[in-house]
């Protein structure tokens, strides 16, 4: 294979602090049965990349538990396959990395031992189908030093981190700006996917160590727009950025649109850990409209415009509307939820009434009793 894959599992944790308190960005549940990392991992595998390193930092037990040996992605390989890259403490000050460049410094030995010519790097903060092979072809065809993938869209201004946007001229990136003021206009927003030669990445890392550079976009990309051939590749398909809590909510809900669902899952090639839950059962009084429901659920109540994860129980008379309910949560008899994101293993007692708002869904943390 031409490229080795690198997945940053928690570069943007601070955008969704509620959801990463007990996990990494990559292991945030999404779409009823997935975790965010399933999307970049499946994209890697579907693009024929069979060596993938996952960079982790902290709270990555849930991530390890999810990816395991990599067998569900066909990445449990004798040669290559899935490799977890835990943080490497030797940054001179015993602390964990704080930037992408520092994280990369910690995996130089992984990178130098790979034998693929190119590196495809991605984060876990988006849900999309991307063919890295096509992007790599584009990269080679354009004799690019670095190719950055962007999506034309209105940047999420509620995000904690400002969106990185590009000025693109004849496919070449000529300017880079952080979007801090809302203007409602479309921009070329960076998707955090990039491709370059492995040898170039290694020399960038070595150079940044000796010169004390810390920030990949500012110190490497912005500084080299003229001296290097940095190309932009526009991703035209479905793209849901998980850049804020609100964006997380809306991205989940975008799966209720059959066109989006078809684009993401039409060929059944998004892979995830298999749990062997029992089939989902509907009772005689169930009423369900416009919702996605995973396996292992028992639905006796009403569910509308919602995403229901594995093993959820919706008791008789319970009403769940416009909500995301994660694994193994129980919604008691007569309880009512509207615009609520309920984390795993929550128990909503009988008759409880919870309501958020469309632009401000309310969050119930993992394991709570309400």
């Amino acid at each position: 294979m031409r490229a080795v894959g690198i997945v940053f599992s928690n570069i943007h944790d601070k955008n969704v602090p509620e959801l990463v308190r007990i996990r990494t960005l990559g292991s945030i549940p999404f779409g009823g049965r997935y975790r965010l990392i399933d999307f970049p991992l499946s994209n890697m595998v579907n693009s024929g990349i069979d060596t993938v390193g996952i960079i982790t930092k902290s709270n990555y037990q849930s991530l390890m538990d999810h990816v395991g040996s990599g067998k569900y992605w066909d990445l449990a390989r004798k040669d290559g396959g899935l490799i977890i890259l835990p943080p490497f403490g030797d940054l001179g000050n015993d602390s964990l990395y704080t930037s992408r460049l520092e994280a990369l410094k910690g995996i130089t030995s992984f990178l130098s031992h790979a034998d693929e010519e190119y590196v495809v790097m991605t984060d876990c903060d988006s849900v999309c189908r991307m063919n890295y092979n096509e992007i790599l072809d584009y990269h080679i065809r354009n004799r690019a030093d670095i190719t950055l993938v962007y999506k034309k869209m209105v940047p999420d201004m509620t995000s904690e981190e400002p969106a990185t946007t590009f000025t693109v001229f004849e496919n070449r990136i000529t300017g880079l700006a952080y979007k801090t003021e809302a203007d409602g206009k479309e921009a070329n927003v960076f998707t955090n996917v990039f491709i370059m030669k492995r040898s170039l990445l290694l020399s960038i890392i070595m150079d940044s160590i000796s010169r004390g550079k810390r920030h990949f976009m500012t110190d490497i990309i912005a500084d080299n727009l003229k001296s290097m051939r940095i190309m932009g590749y526009e991703h035209k398909g479905f793209f849901a950025g998980i850049t804020s809590f609100q964006a997380y909510f809306e991205s989940n809900m975008s799966l209720l649109d059959p066109a989006n669902r078809n684009e993401l899952f039409g060929d059944r090639n998004v892979f995830t850990k298999v749990k062997d839950s029992a089939p989902t059962k509907y009772g005689n009084n169930a009423s369900v409209k416009n919702s996605l429901i995973a396996d292992g659920c028992v639905v006796e109540g009403t569910v509308e415009n919602s995403i229901i994860f594995r093993g959820v129980k919706v008791d008789r008379g319970a009403v769940v509307k416009n909500s995301i309910v994660m694994q193994d949560t129980v919604i008691g008899t007569g309880a009512s939820l509207n615009y609520i994101i309920v984390d795993k293993n929550v128990s909503i007692k009988d008759g409880r009434y919870l309501s958020g708002a469309e632009n401000h869904p309310f969050y119930v943390a993992k394991g709570m009793m309400v």
Binding site: T280, K281, D295
Partner: protein, 400 residues
Amino acid sequence: MIRKKKCVAMLLAGGQGSRLYALTNNIAKPAVSFGGKYRIIDFPLSNCVNSGIDTVGVLTQYQPLVLNDYIGNGQPWDLDREFGGVHILSPYQAKTSSEWYKGTANAIYQNIRFIKQFNPDYVLILSGDHIYKMNYSVMLNYHILNNADCTIAAIEVPMEEASRFGILNTNEDSSIYEFEEKPKNPKNNLASMGIYIFSAEKLYKYLEEDNADPNSSNDFGKNVLPKMLSNGERMMAYKFTGYWKDVGTIDSLYEANMDLLGDIPKFNVSDPSWKIQTRSPMSPPHYVGDGAIIKNSIILTGCEIYGDVENSILSSDVVVEKGATVRNSVIMADVKIKSGATVEYAIIDENTVVSSGATVGDPKESGKGIAVLSRNITIGENAKVSGGQIIDKDLEGGAN
């Protein structure tokens, strides 16, 4: 220390299942899907794993392609092992003879070398056509405690049905004194479940003798077990009281599926302490559209439901379009029920299309029986399949 397994399981999965007609045209009975998510063989395999038996030989013969592919390296059941694990055992050619498995006993006999490489103390013989949850390790302890040479699992069946089964007549201590194969006037209602535990050395001995006997039909029930009994070996009946269903006929397969429905189902597959493990499809959660009505049903991952579904089992990736109705039916994976079609009291096998306006089946009350559609066929627009009909090729559309 010699590496060994205490107990090796041998699963007889070669049966054609001819009474399932069109459902087993191209696949072996154990590979027939069940309960939306499972195939029949998931039950004995999961029972093995949950009972701590990690070495299973699966003996295939009839149409093994789907079954082999399904079992693969055994990973879904955690049976991908360095020592042990699941092994597909198909009939093979040998230097002096090459033959198909002649009977159940002959199938095991031809694979004695497979068993011996694990040097087991006990051998568990299973069949791949029953739906049940059973802890074989409890049965094995019973076998050991009773100092038995062979233990046969048995279940009480209704007296009026007893003449369809192999009946075990037992003494007070549950030791067996007589077998009666499908007796006209059964003395009792204790039926053999086709699950045997043998002490390994006895099994080897009797299989060798059976093989040397030209008059034998090489069958456990007909030959080997009666021979052991007449030789005075200690044979015990192990009484099982849980749910057990032979799904060898269209009607029993349908009933067993329906036993999963209801507030308190007759058969519970969602017991976390006895997980039924299976090869799961990588499909997204199922989607229920705005106009859909779903009552008392099981719906699997990847389905898209826009119509009415009642008292039915829908396997993965089934589409029920707007205005379509599915009632009292078992729908297997990847089936499409197009708009305005009606399916009632039917079993539809994988990847079949019921076109717009078509009608499949008649209500149970009509007495016509279950309509069956085999896999990979298309029922044309406005076509009509009556109750009790079995269709195994494309059916042209009917008049409006």
